[in-house]
Structure formats: C-alpha cells, structure tokens
C-alpha cells in the first residue's frame, strides 16, 4: 500500500474508533471489542508502514495542509517515529485488554468517555510520532495534553480536579512559553521547521545561543519531565491505573522524550551538537533529575507515586542519552524508550492489579501479598529488573548502550551518575519484592489474583520485556538508522 495512505491512516484509525465506541455505548462487550479491534488494526498499519518505509532510500513526506505561507502540517515516517508508533500502538492493545479487567473490576463510571478519549489520545500520539516538522509536532503535542485531561480527571473528585489542573497547567505553560518560543525562534533564523537528518541549525547560530535553544526545548517539552517541570507527573497519578499505565508510562511521557530525541537528531543534528558541546548544560540538568527523582522515589509509600518518580528519573535517562550526543547514546536512548515502556507499563499494571484485587495502594500494606498474588508479584519483579537494568530484561540492553555512549564521549561524571541511580533504583524497587514475598502479612489476606484480563495483559508486557533482551535485533536495526 502507498506510504502516504498508510501514514494518514495511523491518525484516522483511532479517530474513526471514537464514533464507533460512542455508538456502542450501551453494549460494553461490543464497545471493548471495538477498542481492541481498532488498536489491533492500528498496530498492523504501523507495522506495514515500518516494513514499507525501511526499504526506501529516502524519506517521503506527506503534506496534509499548507498552514500559512511556508508552514504546513506534514507527516514523515522515519525510523525514530516508527519505533515510537509501534510501541504506542502495540501497548494500546495490551492496555485495552487490561482496562477491561480494571474498569469492570472497579465498576468505574463513564467508561465510554474513558475509551473515547483514550482513542483520541492515541491519535494525537501517532501525530507526534510521525510529525514531519516542528509545527506539526507542537500541534499534536498540545492535542495530546488536552485529550488526556479528561482521562486524568476521570473520577471528577476534588483531588482529581486539583491533579488535572497541575497536569494541564504545567504542560501547557511550558509548551506555550518555551517550546513554542523555541519553534518560532528557529523559524525566524532558518525559515523552516522541517525535520531533516543532520539538522537544520549547523552554522546558523552560535554555540551559546544553541545551548539556550536546547534549554528552551528541554523545558518546553514538559512531558519529558526534566526538573523543575516534573510536578505534573505525580499529580496525574490521580487517574485510573490504565491511564497511568499507558499515558504515563508510554504515550504522554514518551511523546515528551521522543520529541526531545527527535529534535536533537533532526533539528539540532548529532554532529553539530557533539562538535560544539552546546548540550552540556542540559545534560547535567538531566543528570540531576535522575538522581533527585530517584531519591524522592525512595521516600514514597504510595506505589503509584513511587512509580511516577521512578518514571521522572527514567525519562531523564533518555534525555541524558540524547544530550550526550554520540551514536551509541542515541541508540541507547531509542532503545530505552522501548525498554522503559515495557518495564514501566508492567509495573503500573501490577499496581493496578493489586488495587483491583485487594484495594491496597501503599507499599507498606503489601507484606506477604506475594502468596496471594504470585503471578502479579513475579511480573513486578521482572518489571523492576528492567527498570534497574539487569538481565534478562530489555532495560539491560538500553542502559548498556547509554553507558557505552557516556564512555565514548568521556563523560565520567555521567558514568558515576548512572551507577548511583542504578543503586537507588534497586533501593526503591526491590523492597517491594522483599515485603511481598518474605514478610508475613499483618492481617489475614482474603483475596486471590487479579481478574483474568489483567493477568493476560501482564503476561504480554512481561513477555515483551524479556523478548527485548533476547531478540533486540529488530528494534536495534531500526535504531541504528537514527544513530547514523
């Protein structure tokens, strides 16, 4: 099939799902079937797109509309976007299966609205993945913020509204003030915002201003969660767990780091940055975020809060790797998008499974829960290993490449930061395993495993985490296109 057709389909398919979901609101089974069907078709489309695109020698751009003279909304399939598109659409299937178990298990209200906005958010994510220039990226980035707001505030309680305000407030403020400003600045220097391999800024602007521009993007893309603009992430944890799982382990946060990576590679240019060292400051900023967020995660008792801060820390790995700007670190950065997505979604699924089965939300309540929910807690272990970066999980491979990149560029302080943060992640994740398997419960546990749908979803995400370790070749192959 034609690539232009396929790429526009990736946005149309989830959008087309919305009215169908609305129409079938009176029959939950049909509604969920449609969601999963849409997700599967979307994944297949992305797969087809990937296969078709990688055979091409040069990239094709599809212009949807010419916005104003010189600016346009356009989509371009390129390796980085393809990986992100595949991951997001693939995990949408898994999350949909999981949502069925979770939303029904908790008897949530307004489930139709939930599935509708979920589909909308995925459409926006696809737009982010395949954006062909900065303007398009910005538009879909904002669409993603807006379409996820109703998901975050799903419970409509006072705390949900509070969380939602922080969420939208931080994301919109940073994007409008810094991100948009950066885009317009680049436009006024170069007259284009297109993503071109090798970047568009070489010899256009001096290293100091380049450094400032990078900061505008790092802060402007609040979804990447670099401190001090990370507050929205823990605030958004008021959302139902499937939302936290997909959006805050995959779609939203990854849209952020993905944008940073994409802008580094296609706007600034890897060679340009590594030769002028403009990204140094941003790199240290990410390093600080990694350590600080890990320390905060240590102090959390709420499982989802702990995972949120762990996410903040892990996201900065990706930003850090992008800012190291070596071919290996860029590959590591790309791989980490995938490995963290699989690992963290597993952990969020576990948190939700525990909540559905037992109603527990705090780490201290988990004593001995491993006996009642062995499968869930085993999955938690695998997810933790991936976040820490140990074999046999995907996290090991991505971290390996990030470390290689740091050594290649002789950034030894960064090396130290990576080691410290690994130790910290051991310290905040493994106690959960210890509590649940080796301690005896305070009171008698009277529940069993989570609903089957949840366990199926967990099984898939765990498999993916391990598969990424055993067969990293496909993603690795695509990632190598970017590193060059």
């Amino acid at each position: 099939m034609d690539i232009n057709f396929l790429i526009i389909l990736t946005i149309i398919i989830p959008l087309a799902g919305v009215p169908l979901i609305l129409l079938s609101r009176n029959s939950p089974n049909l509604r969920e079937f449609i969601t999963i069907l849409t997700a599967s078709i979307l994944f297949l489309t992305n797969l087809l797109l990937t296969i078709n695109t990688l055979g091409l020698s040069e990239s094709k751009t599809f212009v949807i509309v010419n916005f104003f003279p010189g600016g346009s909304i356009q989509l371009t399939p390129e390796p980085l976007g393809l990986i992100f598109g595949l991951i997001a659409s693939g995990l949408w299937i898994v999350t949909s299966i999981y949502s069925i178990g979770y939303m029904r298990g908790k008897n949530e209200k307004n489930q139709t609205r939930f599935y509708c906005f979920f589909a909308l958010a995925i459409a926006a994510t696809m737009g982010v993945a395949y954006a062909g220039n900065l303007i398009t990226l910005f538009i879909f980035y904002e669409a993603l913020s807006l379409s996820t707001y109703p998901l975050v505030t799903h419970h409509q309680s006072e705390s949900a509204k509070q969380g939602g305000r922080t969420y939208l407030g931080v994301l919109l403020t940073t994007s409008v003030v810094f991100f948009l400003f950066g885009i317009i600045w680049i436009w006024s220097i170069t007259g284009t915002t297109e993503f071109v391999s090798g970047g568009i800024l070489e010899n256009e602007i001096n290293p100091y201003l380049t450094g400032i521009l990078i900061l505008l993007f790092i802060f402007g893309i609040g979804k990447a969660g670099v401190m001090p603009f990370h507050r929205w992430l823990p605030a958004a944890m008021v959302a139902p767990t499937p939302v936290s799982a997909l959006l805050h382990a995959v779609a939203v946060v990854k849209a952020g780091v993905f944008s940073v990576l994409k802008i580094t590679v296609y706007t600034f240019g890897v060679e340009n940055l590594s030769s002028n060292g403009a990204s140094e400051f941003a790199m240290y900023l990410a390093a600080i975020t990694i350590v600080a967020a890990s320390i905060i995660a240590l102090k959390q008792n709420n499982i989802k809060k702990m995972l949120a801060y762990s996410t903040v820390s892990q996201l900065s790995y990706i930003v850090l790797a992008a800012m190291i700007v070596s071919s290996n670190s860029i590959i590591g950065s790309t791989l980490h998008i995938a490995s963290h997505a699989f690992g963290k979604i597993t952990l969020f699924f576990c948190a939700g499974a525990i909540y559905v089965a037992s109603g527990k939300t705090e780490i201290s309540q988990l004593k001995g829960i491993g006996k009642a929910m062995p499968l869930t807690m085993a999955a938690f272990l695998i997810g933790s290993l991936s976040i820490i970066g140990l074999p046999p999980t995907g996290g090991f491979i991505s971290k390996w490449y990030i470390l290689l990149g740091a050594i290649q560029q002789e950034e030894f302080i960064i090396l130290l930061v990576l080691i410290i943060s690994t130790l910290l992640s051991v310290a905040y994740l493994l106690p959960v395993i210890y509590l649940s398997f080796f301690l005896t419960p305070d009171s008698k546990i009277d529940h069993g495993e989570a609903p089957t749908a949840i366990l199926i979803a967990l099984g898939i995400s765990v498999t993916l985490t391990i598969l990424l370790f055993l067969y990293p070749t496909p993603i690795f192959q695509i990632a190598k296109f970017i590193g060059n």
Partner: protein, 489 residues
C-alpha cells in the same frame, strides 16, 4: 452598475434604516436588515475581487472629483475590513431574531433594527471613505446609533453604560474633529491621499504634531485602548447580546482600521514611528492593556463582562502589532482583526444563546452546561481556545505572526511576554470550561439547547474559527498583502 458599488455599499443600509421606521413592523424590519446585510456582504466581496485585480479603486461620490468632492478610496486593507463588517453583520442579523424578541420589548424592535442599520452603514462608511472629515461624519452616525442600541439592553444599568459611552465617545469624536481641523488649516485639504502628499512639507510644525495627538487619542478612545477603555466593559455587558457581538466584532475593529489608516497612510510611518516615539508609547500601553485586562478578566463572574475585558486585552495585541511597524507585526494586527472578530463574535453569540435559555450569563449559572447545551458549550470551547491561541484555531495564526514580528524587531523579551500572557487567557477560558464541563449544576430543571436559527449562524463563526486556523491563504494572505501595501515593499 458595477462601478457604483462603492456608493451602494454605504447607501443601501443608510436608506433601509428609515424604511424600517416607516414600516413599523418587527418581522419585516428584521428581514430587511438580513437582506441588506447579505447584499452588502456580496457587494464587499465583489469589491474585494476588483481591488485584488486593480489594487486601488477611487470613486468620486456624486461625480464630484476630489479634492472638492468626497472620494471613496478602496485598497486591500479597507476592503478586507468591509468584508469583515458586512460578513459579521450577515451572521448576526440572521441570528438576531429570537434573541432580540427575547431581550427587547416587542414594540421597540423595529427601532432596534433601524439603529442597527444606521450603525452598520456608519461602520461601512468609516472604512470606505477617503476623506478625513467624512470619517468624522460616519463616526458620529455609528456612535449615536450604538448609544441608542446599548441603552436598549434589558438591564437598567444599560442606560448608564450607554451614557458613559456617549460622554467618552463624544469626547473621542470631538478630539478627532479638532485634529482633522488642524490638518485642514495646515494643508487646505481633507482628502486622505492629498493629505499624505502635503503633510510632509509641514511635518516640522507644532500644529501637525498637535493634530496627530488629537486624532490618535480620539481614535484610541473609540477603540478602547487602556487606559481609555472605561466605557467598554459596561457597554458590552449590559447591551443586548446581539449588539455586544456586533460591537465587539466590528466597531472597535473599524476604529483600529482608522488608526492604521491615519498612522500608515495619512501621516506616514516616517512621521509616526521614526520622528516620534509613537511605537514605544503604543506598545507600552498595549502591553499594560494585555496584562491588566487579562488579569481583570480572570476575576469576572459575569461572562459577558469577562469577554469584554478579554476584548480589551485582544485590542492590546492588535495595537502592539501595529506599533511594531514591520511586515509581520502589521500582518499580525490585520489578521487578528479578522480572527478576533470571528472568535469573539462566536463567543458573544453563544452568550446570547445562554442568556435566552437560562436567562443569565453568570459563571455559576453555567455549571453543567456541557451536558445541557452541548452545542453552545462546544462553541464556547472553540472560541475560547482561539482566544488563547491554541494551534488549529484562528488565534494561533495571529499569535505566530505577532511573535515573529516581535523577533524581527529584536524585542525578545516582548516575544516571551506575549507567550506568557496567552496563559492568562488560558486561565479565564479554563474557568468557563471547568464550570461547564467539570461541575454539575445544582439546578435539576430541564433546559433545552438554543433554537436552531441561532445555532447555525453561531456555528458558521465556530467553523470559520477552525477553518482559518488551518487554511490561512484568505485571512493571513490578504492581511500580509495589505501590510505590504501599507509598508510599501
């Protein structure tokens, strides 16, 4: 026939107005206004077509050639304004029937339409004429009729709002006239094109400086730039909804047009921006207007009042664009005249729907409206997003150009400030959205959506708000043509 169009543009509504008085029938006068507006809109489109072909149309009224007679002079800028004014008028009059029947005593309705048509022809005349004194005449026509129409509001405070406007509007018009008189004394002509030629010879005189000061302050009063804005919030709040929509979308916009016309054509940008620090003065006032009025808007409980303050802030953006005195800045100003007209028009029309259905435009009465009046609520969302300048709405295009303009001028801090201020808009828009969608009403009584005759015109504006956020060759294209023409590149 085609060559007489410039005159017909103004004359048709002017003649239709007394017709309404003679007929004394509310149904027919409503129909007449609708027909006149649509005909005017068609005329303005034909004129636009002609202007695009031949750049400038000069029309001698009554066959008396300038400088003795009055010249109507059309270029891209004022033809664009004519299209906006008559287009908005077509939409507003089609919308008006139900809303006016609800808000105005039945026996006064024909008078309302009379006033409306007078104001309409006044605004068209202000835009089309190439004669400085004639501008004053049309200012008075439109102003006097707008005082009457504001006073027709249901709330008794409408009368005092109208009176305040009358006082300040008269001061403004008088200032304008004094300025024109001084110019005439110095140059012996009232024709704008002649003035533009003769003024440079007398640039150095104090009289011209004073004349410029009087004219610009007079116009700034009419367009309600902070701190000359005091008449506007009450006027918009207590006027009938239709009037608020029409005034906010067109009246201040035509005054802004006059500022551009006198600044760039009559006095010339050399005199205005290079010889005197007008840019700095206007820009600082505009920034204060944007910040202060946005902040005040955040704390309003009456949504019409909130929108009025938001209009004041948006006027600030337009003035800022003008003061940048470069291509992107001026394009931003002109395109924002258009974009703000359609978005704010849609918002005020939505307020009219809400006033009709629930009888109040207080924010607390709008709780849960997202479910009860889904179409109206959605229109408010789109209009609001455009005020913030969210991508894919018309407002984003204006924002883009004005920031480019600021960067071109090297005013970095201003560019960042502009982005920050759009967040203030986010706050006041979000308050409405939150009330409508995320709070459920305590009132359980059932309400229906507004009548379809009001929804359709409103949605024309809503769709335009989105359309002109995506496809901008008409709006931004014409605006940049007009800006090029004015700056002379």
């Amino acid at each position: 026939m085609l060559s007489q169009l410039p005159a017909l543009q103004v004359v048709i509504p002017l003649i239709a107005a007394p017709l309404c008085v003679i007929l004394r029938n509310k149904e027919i006068s409503c129909l007449v206004s609708q027909a006149v507006s649509i005909v005017s809109f068609l005329i303005s489109l034909i004129l636009l077509q002609q202007v695009l072909n031949q750049n400038v149309i000069s029309y001698a009224l009554g066959g008396w050639l300038a400088p003795i007679g009055i010249e109507y002079r059309l270029d891209i800028l004022n033809t664009f304004i004519l299209v906006i004014v008559s287009g908005i008028s077509s939409i507003v009059t089609i919308y008006s029937k139900k809303s006016i029947e609800h808000e105005i005593d039945s026996e006064k309705i024909y008078l309302f339409y009379t006033g409306y048509l007078l104001m309409f022809s006044g605004l068209l005349g202000m835009s089309i004429t190439g004669d400085a004194f004639n501008v004053f005449v049309f200012i008075e026509i439109s102003s006097l009729s707008s005082y009457a129409m504001i006073a027709m509001g249901k709330d008794r405070r409408a009368v005092s709002a109208s009176f305040t406007y009358l006082v300040m509007g008269t001061v403004g018009a008088t200032f304008f006239l004094i300025g024109v008189g001084l110019m005439y004394a110095m140059t012996g002509t009232l024709n704008m094109a002649d003035l533009a030629e003769r003024l440079p010879k007398v640039y150095e005189t104090k009289a011209i400086l004073v004349s410029f000061a009087f004219i610009s302050i007079g116009i700034l009063l009419k367009l309600a730039l902070f701190p000359l804005h005091l008449w506007l919030p009450n006027a918009y709040t207590y006027a009938p909804s239709v009037v608020s929509a029409f005034l906010s979308a067109t009246a201040t916009k035509v005054a802004i047009y006059l500022l551009i016309r006198f600044g760039y054509t009559v006095f010339g940008s050399d005199f205005v921006f290079i010889k005197y620090p007008t840019a700095e003065i206007l820009a600082s006032l505009a920034i204060v207007a944007i910040i202060v009025c946005s902040l005040v808007a955040i704390f309003q409980t009456n949504i019409k009042r909130l929108l009025a303050f938001s209009s004041l802030a948006q006027v600030g953006y337009i003035i800022l664009g003008i003061s940048l005195n470069n291509l992107n800045g001026l394009t931003a100003a002109i395109v924002h005249i258009f974009n703000h007209a359609i978005s704010k028009g849609a918002l005020f029309l939505a307020m009219g729907c809400i006033a009709l259905v629930i009888g109040s435009v207080k924010i607390k009465d709008m709780e849960g409206l997202g479910k009860k009046m889904p179409f109206t609520a959605f229109a408010i969302v789109i209009g609001g997003l455009s005020l913030i300048g969210v991508p894919l709405t018309a407002g984003f295009i204006s924002k883009w150009y004005i920031i480019l303009g600021a960067l071109d001028k090297g005013w970095w801090v201003l560019a960042i400030l502009l982005l920050l201020t759009s967040l203030l808009a986010l706050v006041y828009v979000w308050r409405i959205i939150e009330a409508m969608y995320f709070r459920s009403s305590e009132n359980v009584y059932k309400i229906n959506e507004a009548p379809i005759s009001m929804l359709i015109p409103m949605y024309v504006l809503v769709i335009m708000t989105i359309y002109f956020g995506i496809e901008t060759s008409f709006s931004a294209g014409l605006a940049s043509e007009a800006a090029k023409f004015l700056i002379g590149t």
